[in-house]
């Protein structure tokens, strides 16, 4: 008898993704869809996609999707969740989206302890617009706006948004994971599931920061990009549970 061990998740539509080969967004979409299916919350979940490569998530997830203006995911999610407190509401945001133009909205949503979940995809650049420096770009990292590498004196140092959010009283659960290896992918899925459960239990603000490869703008092969997350990105953004007040 046949046993299905791998299939398209129920809440991903049957359309091709536009993501580049080796892009972390594809993996993260799958993980979220799997968690939604496993928690059986597809019919009560609303996702707020960002401005960024993942804006087209609205064409990929087979759940209700409401696009936010650039950076305002947490603000829009706040509105939806407050009107519909029994639904599951999460925003999906890139590092340029959340840590630059959307910093204020994000910090205040966390500080108010909004009962929402934020999936924060950190690929250390503005992916969609062609690889400009983001607040999270590493020192020395090349980008189209930091040719020759990000310079601390000229460009400032990478910002650790998760740590910043962790000091707010309303943030309950924040974890930084990565999708550059099987092991890390499994851990990421667990973190997403935990964040959703935090919301379902009404505990407050939860966020998973996911270090994600952008081979196209990093100008690397997908394999090298995954390795560089270990050797480069994690040196600045170490994987860890940044805050956990659930127990």
């Amino acid at each position: 008898m046949e046993k299905v061990v791998f299939k398209r998740p129920k809440y991903i539509k049957k359309v091709p993704f536009h993501y580049c080969p080796g892009c972390g967004h594809s993996i993260i979409h799958r993980l979220i869809a799997e968690v939604i299916e496993e928690l059986d919350i597809g019919e009560k979940t609303i996702c707020v996609p960002p401005a960024g490569c993942a804006v087209l998530a609205y064409d990929y997830f087979d759940i209700d999707m409401g696009e936010a203006p650039h950076g305002r995911g947490a603000a829009l999610a706040t509105g939806v969740k407050r009107i519909l407190p029994d639904k599951m509401v999460f925003s999906y945001q890139g590092d340029g989206d959340i840590a630059a133009i959307g910093t204020a909205e994000t910090i205040h949503a966390a500080n108010r302890g909004e009962n929402i979940t934020v999936i924060f995809v950190n690929n250390s650049c503005y992916g969609m617009t062609g690889g400009q420096m983001a607040p999270t770009t590493l020192l020395g990292q090349n980008s189209t706006t930091t040719p020759g590498g990000r310079d601390k004196d000229r460009d400032g140092s990478p910002i650790d948004l998760s740590e910043m959010l962790a000091i707010t009283k309303g943030a309950v659960y924040i974890e930084r994971t990565a999708v550059n290896s099987i092991k890390n992918i499994i851990k990421t899925k667990k973190a997403i599931a935990k964040a959703f459960k935090v919301q379902m239990a009404g505990l407050g603000f939860s966020l998973v920061e996911i270090l994600s490869p952008c081979p196209t703008n990093w100008k690397m092969s997908p394999v090298d990009a995954c390795e560089w997350i270990d050797d480069g990105v994690m040196q600045t953004f170490p994987l860890k549970i940044v805050k956990d007040e659930t127990s």
């Binding site: 009560k44 609205y58 087979d62 209700d64 999707m65 409401g66």
Partner: protein, 193 residues
């Protein structure tokens, strides 16, 4: 979009609220995002990436604007029936202008006010029709002339357009504008029949 000037946040006066809207009679919301329970999932978005779809959408918006221009472009008139001289002003400037028009009327000058209620779309038809009997318009603004071109374009040279404006700082008084009106009125010989 409602255009407000700084004065609005600094004044108080009695207002009469319209009757409250009956919230039980709102139209259905077939677009709402409340979880795709027993129905297909929905998308609310502003992004249109396809060039063909984008142009179609922009034409749709253009047609919508045409309809709006026809249906909601609107202006209030005050003492314009017999006016030979009309002040065009909006917002706080229109309030100041009303006071100045009362003073001008006391001096026996036939002056009225045209207050665009909507600035975009601009009530060009109202102004153009008025140009049949009014040959002198004074655009009065609390800036250096942001509406001036709209008035000139609406009139297409049919009447004279004068301007008086002061940038942010000191707010003009009704007396000050009454002086501007009367000096223009006599300069244009409008007191003669």
């Amino acid at each position: 979009m409602i255009l407000v000037d700084g004065m609005m946040s600094q004044m108080m006066e009695p207002v009469i609220f319209p009757d409250p809207v009956n919230l039980t009679e709102l139209p259905p919301k077939p677009w709402v995002l409340d979880g795709a329970n027993g129905r297909p999932s929905r998308i609310i978005k502003s992004l249109i990436l396809g060039t063909v779809e984008m142009e179609e959408h922009n034409w749709k918006l253009a047609r919508k604007y045409e309809t709006i221009s026809r249906e909601i472009a609107n202006a209030e008139t005050y003492m314009t029936e017999d006016a030979r001289f009309v002040v065009v002003a909006y917002g706080t400037a229109a309030r100041v202008a009303k006071g100045s028009i009362k003073r001008a009327r006391e001096m026996g000058l036939k002056v009225g006010l045209l207050r665009p209620v909507t600035l975009w779309p601009f009530p060009e038809r109202v102004i153009r029709e008025m140009s049949r009997s009014v040959k002198d318009f004074l655009v009065f603004e609390m800036n250096t002339g942001q509406m001036l071109d709209d008035v000139k374009l609406s009139l297409e040279g049919r009447s004279n357009v004068h301007f008086y404006g002061r940038p942010g700082g000191i707010v003009s008084t009704p007396d000050e504008i009454a002086k501007v009106i009367s000096s223009l009125y006599y300069r244009q010989h409008l007191e003669e029949d």
